[in-house]
């Protein structure tokens, strides 16, 4: 039996405690608290998906962060929706193209890191700028409408309350949790993140696993782009902008180490839900936009403070 003390030592717990506390407040002030929860977890789905991708990258070691996620989201969604052209029959091609586009950007990031030996943050920043230009040039920065099939899919709620996409994101999180704790890939990227030299000396194919990681991050961002654009009635150039900081925030709030080598999928789910519950709570309370931002920032710092991240990040 885990005691209270060992429970509190689990870093991911704080995000769940925070989410529960915020939900309790919502239940106290709102007549329809479950509808709020339902709306929150719909949006949290996107945080979970990009968060997992970002977490994989962060896990591979100090300084590894994917800054290209926002523009990958916008590019993948624009590419997919352009191919779909509002026709339900084209959905499979569009989704596949979105995922492939995201993966290609991830691969490009990796190639920059591998062959130009750029620090990952700078490599992903540079590629993100290039991708943004491509999105502007090929999709003219217009809002490209989703097909009705995808719109229905992302807003479908099981039993009227639980969004289907949230359940699928949970399934993806469960799969990644198993992969990270049981599969060779997971062990390897943890090893690389903790000590790249030791991992290399043990025969881990560092290059291969880093490549897979960056591609996976792009793929998660691509999937998120398609789903998010279906949810918010269209792909736009700036649709992913808020995900740059938030994707890092949910990873660290969830208890993963920003220095790498220590991942936590369970925490990402909790912190994603927490972040959106806060936004909705402050909305219900009628708080002004400015105060909402301030409160969000304070909560992010507070959770990090409580969970006691104690590693230098590079």
């Amino acid at each position: 039996m885990p005691t209270i003390k060992t429970l509190l030592a689990r870093k991911w717990l704080w995000s769940y405690l925070g989410a529960a506390a915020v939900f309790a407040v919502i239940a106290a002030v709102s007549a329809n608290s479950f509808a709020t929860l339902s709306a929150s977890i719909s949006f949290a789905t996107f945080y979970i998906l990009v968060g997992i991708g970002q977490m994989l990258v962060i896990t591979t070691g100090p300084g590894n962060i994917d800054l290209s996620i926002p523009n990958t989201i916008a590019f993948a969604a624009s590419l997919g929706f352009t191919l779909i052209n509002e026709s339900n029959a084209n959905i499979p091609y569009g989704v596949a193209a979105g995922i492939a586009g995201g993966g290609a950007i991830g691969l490009f990031n990796y190639l920059l890191i591998r062959f130009i030996l750029m620090p990952p943050m700078i490599a992903t920043l540079a590629s993100s700028l290039i991708v943004r230009s491509l999105s502007i040039i090929y999709f003219r920065g217009m809002q490209i409408k989703p097909p009705s099939g995808l719109s229905w899919f992302v807003s479908y709620r099981v039993g009227g309350y639980v969004p289907l996409v949230f359940l699928l994101a949970l399934a993806a999180a469960a799969v990644m949790q198993i992969v990270l704790t049981r599969a060779a890939y997971g062990r390897y990227i943890h090893a690389i993140g903790q000590n790249i030299k030791a991992a290399w000396l043990c025969g881990v194919d560092v290059k291969l696993y880093k490549m897979i990681t960056y591609v996976l991050s792009g793929v998660f961002a691509g999937v998120t782009g398609i789903l998010l654009a279906s949810f918010t009635s269209g792909a736009t150039l700036s649709m992913g902008d808020e995900y740059m900081l938030n994707s890092i925030a949910v990873v660290v709030m969830g208890g993963s180490s920003i220095a790498g080598g220590d991942s936590n999928v369970i925490g990402i789910v909790g912190s994603s839900v927490l972040l959106y519950l806060i936004v909705n709570l402050l909305n219900i309370l009628g708080m002004e936009a400015g105060l909402r931002y301030i409160f969000t920032g304070v909560v992010i710092i507070g959770i990090i403070f409580l969970s006691g991240e104690k590693m230098r990040w590079r």
């Binding site: 130009i116 993100s128 030299k197 880093k210 660290v252 400015g290 105060l291």
Partner: protein, 324 residues
């Protein structure tokens, strides 16, 4: 394990390294001057100001702030939010109540000093603290100036519009800033300690220096440079806007890297950072004179970063095992 070139390397490698920022600026500047030679003729030197050269100054200041943070191996992810907030303080508060405005700016400095202390005492990663702070700064900015507008005090805009003889004012300012930054990082005890903390904090501590003092001072200075960037941006644009400095965070990081700074800390170049900031800023003008669609603006910035790092010899690390 991606650590950049060793600073101890002498000879040619050192020169190629310090050439990176110069080359990256030339890559941008030469086509501009080639297509519009009038820009460098003495009779028309004010034309350089009309090409919005002056708007590079806030970016230079923000980049120097980022350089300070990166010199100790940290990063400020809230730079654009801070700079925007300062423009809002200038527009919404300073014009009505100077004392309150100055008090707010001092408050920002204190918060930055506290961030430095926090990062040291709790061993919290600066990246995540400053992500949190970015929401706080934006929140404050929206609270005091919900929509773009404001009334910037004349002293700020007058100062940014001085017209010294012979040399364009932005160039004068940039040169002074580069000199000041270089002096701070290389000729003062503080600069040496800061770079030491970035390179090897244990050796600094064991030689009897206080790392927390260095971190507090560095972050206070990051705040100060951010504030100066905001004041100059407000003076130039005559606007207060919670989103005015959009992209400054990434631009400043890119400028430091272009300038030859190392991501892992300990190695910076003030002059290089100033060059890098100018290169990033002048990209728009480059596209205009080359008649390339400005749709490519972001992409060309990306390519310049790639190009500069590629020729910078960052890839030459002979004799070391590369794990990736």
């Amino acid at each position: 394990m991606v650590r950049s070139l060793d600073a101890r390397r002498g000879g040619l490698a050192r020169y190629t390294e310090s050439l990176v920022p110069v080359v990256s600026l030339l890559v941008v500047l030469i086509p501009i001057v080639w297509r519009q030679p009038v820009l460098i003729s003495p009779s028309r030197y004010y034309a350089m100001q009309t090409m919005a050269l002056a708007l590079a100054i806030p970016i230079v200041l923000a980049s120097l702030g980022q350089m300070l943070a990166m010199s100790i191996g940290e990063i400020d992810f809230s730079m654009e939010n801070l700079v925007s907030l300062v423009t809002c303080v200038m527009g919404a508060v300073m014009s009505r109540n100077v004392a309150l405005g100055i008090l707010l700016l001092l408050g920002i400095l204190v918060v930055y000093a506290l961030i430095g202390a926090f990062i040291h005492l709790k061993k919290l990663p600066s990246i995540i603290i400053t992500i949190g702070m970015s929401f706080v700064w934006t929140g404050l900015a929206i609270t005091i100036q919900p929509t773009p507008g404001g009334n910037i005090p004349a002293i700020a805009s007058d100062f940014m519009r001085l017209k010294p003889p012979w040399v364009p004012y932005p160039i004068v300012l940039a040169a002074l800033l580069a000199l000041a930054g270089h002096f701070l990082m290389f000729k003062t005890g503080f600069g040496i300690l800061a770079r030491g903390v970035g390179d090897n904090v244990k050796s600094i501590q064991q030689s009897g220096h206080s790392a927390i003092r260095v971190r507090i001072m560095v972050f206070a200075l990051v705040g100060l440079f951010g504030i100066m960037a905001g004041v100059s941006l407000a003076g130039l644009t005559n606007a207060a806007d919670p989103l005015l400095a959009k992209n400054y965070t990434l631009l400043s990081v890119a400028a430091v890297i272009l300038g030859g700074g190392a991501f892992a800390g300990g190695k910076v170049s003030a002059a290089g950072t100033v060059f890098g900031a100018f290169a990033m800023h002048l990209v728009v003008h480059l596209l205009v004179v080359l008649k390339i669609s400005t749709d490519w603006q972001a992409g060309v910035k990306g390519f310049i970063i790639l190009f500069a790092l590629y020729i910078g010899g960052f890839f030459k690390r002979a004799g070391k095992i590369r794990y990736i």
